[in-house]
Amino acid sequence: MRFISESSKERIPCYRVLDDNGQPILGHNFVQVSEEVAIKMYTDMVTLRTMDTIFYETQRQGRISFYVTAIGEEAINIASAAALAMDDVVFPQYREAGVLLWRGFTLQEFTNQLFSNKYDNGKGRQMPAHYGSKKHNYFTVASTIATQISHAVGAAYSLKMDKKDACAVTFFGDGGSSEGDFHAALNFAAVTEAPVIFICRNNGWAISTPISDQFRSDGVVVKGQAYGVRSIRVDGNDALAIYSAVQTARQMALTEERPILIEALTYRVGHHTTSDDSTKYRPTNEIEWWRVARDPVARFRKWIESNGWWNDMAESELINNLRHKLLHTIQVAEGVEKPPLADSFTDVYDVLPSNLREQEQWLKEIVKKQPQEYPANILV
């Protein structure tokens, strides 16, 4: 009689390509990235970082109500998107705006959503940072944790039935892996042999819950084997490692018709959201160490600079352009009017039913009677 130990002697090793100085580690294979792709990856990572910094400040100034940053996780965001194809359908949690950025969502489109103005393609119905774009195959973010993991398996099943050359990709955090949906989705993806990539951003924190309180397993990667899912642990702050792992996973998912689990180890440098102050539950020096010594953007920059593809001048030009552009998009978005009252009632169903029409009429009449009680910048 022999019990299997609750933990193995050694932790699952972590795949990485670049060392902390951005130099390729000898003997570690990786998928080669062209100069063009590398430059786009780097500029998008910087754009994401700058977006996050400026929009965070915008919330602090009271100009938007809420924001979610991805600081520290730029490599996961951008490199994974770079390794996927546009036809691959993405089911995000809420810390993956970079994937949408890579796919071509413009800064103005991001800003419109944050300001919930009439140009938001969500028609002002979701919280800021809950982006969604059918055009970019990026499914609208819902605040519920891990529900998108099941959706991704359903989508993969749909793609498989239609025999499409595309896979489903879903993102979630370490906390999300505790939800029931995670377990059932992995299990079922394995049973149905669905082409789906599960990417877990293990960033160490679920709001104030550290991973030691989240699970007692060796992270999330070990759970893959329990469900019969091939998995890999990757250094989440190493853009090249993420790129290689995701691209390989995609090939496996499509050619072998199987799900793949990728655990990307990283750190949530920012607060959970603008409603959180993480210095209340973790030491400031820990945050600073990860922000500086383990910065994924700086690390990748060192690699492209050593290849001669980037320099200081390009850097300062990029930063200046970005700041200027972002401040302009904010100014524009702020001035655009909000969606009309009618948009409160449309899209609940495909066609407006009579009870909602009545409710809309009633509301319109009240606003007409007492216009001073209602905001002036909403069209009735």
Binding site: Q126, G132, T140, H151, M161, A185, D347, V348, Y349, P353
Partner: protein, 403 residues
């Protein structure tokens, strides 16, 4: 009115005996008028109501109409075929799966086992394992899978082995299924059907006797219908599958073996319509699902006692067909609601509020609502029988109402 008449140009009158019932459709139904197939309304009006997405635009004019009196046999001038309610559901599902390759089924034991109530029997053999998918015991997740599949282009029919199990799927149904079309700004639609047996059965225990329609009725973005006869079961199944909105189809554990003769021709019913079971003058009795049969049994007794009840099977639980209900209230001025839901927060409670709000002036007496008691359903047979509304109580209630 002019636009109404133009649209009406395609309405085909039925046999002469029914043409006197011909009425212009309400303003409410204009918005549902699109190209497509014909739908039989409960009073034998035929009109174009539904939008078809599929390749076949079949003209379907069945002669079957809603049931008359207490019998559950549809009167037809053409011979149809007899089947049981669960077979009617299967027939509807099978026809839709043949018509549209995007329709698929997912649920526990729906594949080769054929479903615990045999609604999906034979479908896995016919359409393959991929289209009739067995899921693990994870209701929230396979409902989520259905939602993801629907957003990516499929039309899944998710089966809850018992409606009560869908309490586990509440998160997905409320927060995602009902919401994503709205929060995405209309970019992603969710044409999913969620169905399963619910209601109080024969000693199934409290956990298997839930009436989920009470809990789901508030969720914006979904539609709810309840079938009660093989005829409307097939028609509602087909309508639910063709709808672009998420629809929850409530079946009842004790009604699966009802037998009826249904038309051979294809037909689809309207999701938002109530069914006139027995026209009358003295009192409007509103009911749905299994309670319809208790009401019809009580109606026999009432007729013998000289009453003339009008019985309407509301069928559409969300939204209510206030047009049909309203016309009835305006005629009889008395309303009795008979439901299986519990007293607090059930469909009857909402219906009472809706009727009072809209038709208060037409009521000669307060609305009476007969519901199950606010208790978990006991296992003992006699106790279970008495938590549910019985025909004797319905008779007494009508007598009191008509005093």
């Amino acid at each position: 009115m002019a636009t109404l008449c133009q649209g009406l140009g395609v309405v085909i009158p039925l046999s002469s005996s029914n043409s006197s019932n011909f009425r212009l459709p309400s303003r409410r139904s204009i918005s549902a008028w699109k190209d497509g197939i014909f739908v039989v309304r409960s009073d034998a009006r035929v009109s174009q109501v539904l939008k078809t997405g599929g390749p076949n635009h079949e003209l379907l004019i069945p002669n079957a109409v809603a049931t008359k009196g207490g019998s559950s046999v549809a009167s037809t001038s053409k011979p149809g075929h007899e089947l049981l309610l669960f077979e009617a559901l299967r027939e509807g599902l099978e026809e839709e799966m043949e018509r549209d390759p995007c329709v698929c089924v997912m649920g526990e034991d729906v594949g080769h086992y054929g479903g615990s109530y045999k609604v999906t029997k034979g479908l896995a053999t016919k359409f393959g394992d991929l289209r009739v998918l067995d899921t693990p015991i994870a209701e929230n997740s396979f409902t989520g899978m259905g939602i993801g599949a629907a957003m990516t282009g499929l039309r899944p029919v998710v089966e809850g082995m018992n409606m009560g199990f869908l309490l586990l799927a509440f998160n997905q149904i409320s927060n995602n299924c009902g919401m994503l079309h709205y929060t995405s700004g209309g970019q992603f639609k969710i044409p999913i059907v969620i169905r399963g047996p619910g209601g109080v059965g024969r000693q199934l225990g409290a956990e298997h006797s839930q009436r989920l329609e009470s809990y789901f009725q508030s969720i914006p973005g979904i539609q709810m219908v309840a079938c009660s006869t093989p005829y409307n079961a097939k028609g509602l199944m087909k309508a639910a599958i063709r709808s672009e909105n998420p629809v929850i189809l409530f079946e009842h554990v004790l009604l699966y073996n009802l037998k009826e003769r249904i038309p051979d021709e294809e037909y689809v019913l309207s999701l938002e319509e109530a069914e006139m079971v027995r026209p009358g003058e003295h009192v409007t009795i509103l009911t749905y699902s299994r309670m319809r049969y208790h009401v019809m049994q009580a109606a026999k007794t009432l007729v013998n006692k000289g009453y003339d009840p009008e019985v309407i099977d509301i069928r559409s639980l969300k939204p209510f067909d206030l047009y049909t209900i309203g016309n009835s209230v305006k005629k009889t001025h008395r309303v009795l609601i008979v439901e299986e839901c519990m007293r607090t927060g059930g469909i009857g409670a909402s219906l009472t509020a809706a009727i009072t709000e809209n038709f208060h002036d037409y009521l000669d007496a307060p609305i009476v609502c007969l519901s199950s008691q606010d208790v978990p359903t006991p296992y003992a047979g006699t106790l279970e029988e008495w938590t549910v509304v019985q025909p004797a109580q319905i008779v007494t209630a009508v007598e009191q109402l008509c005093q």
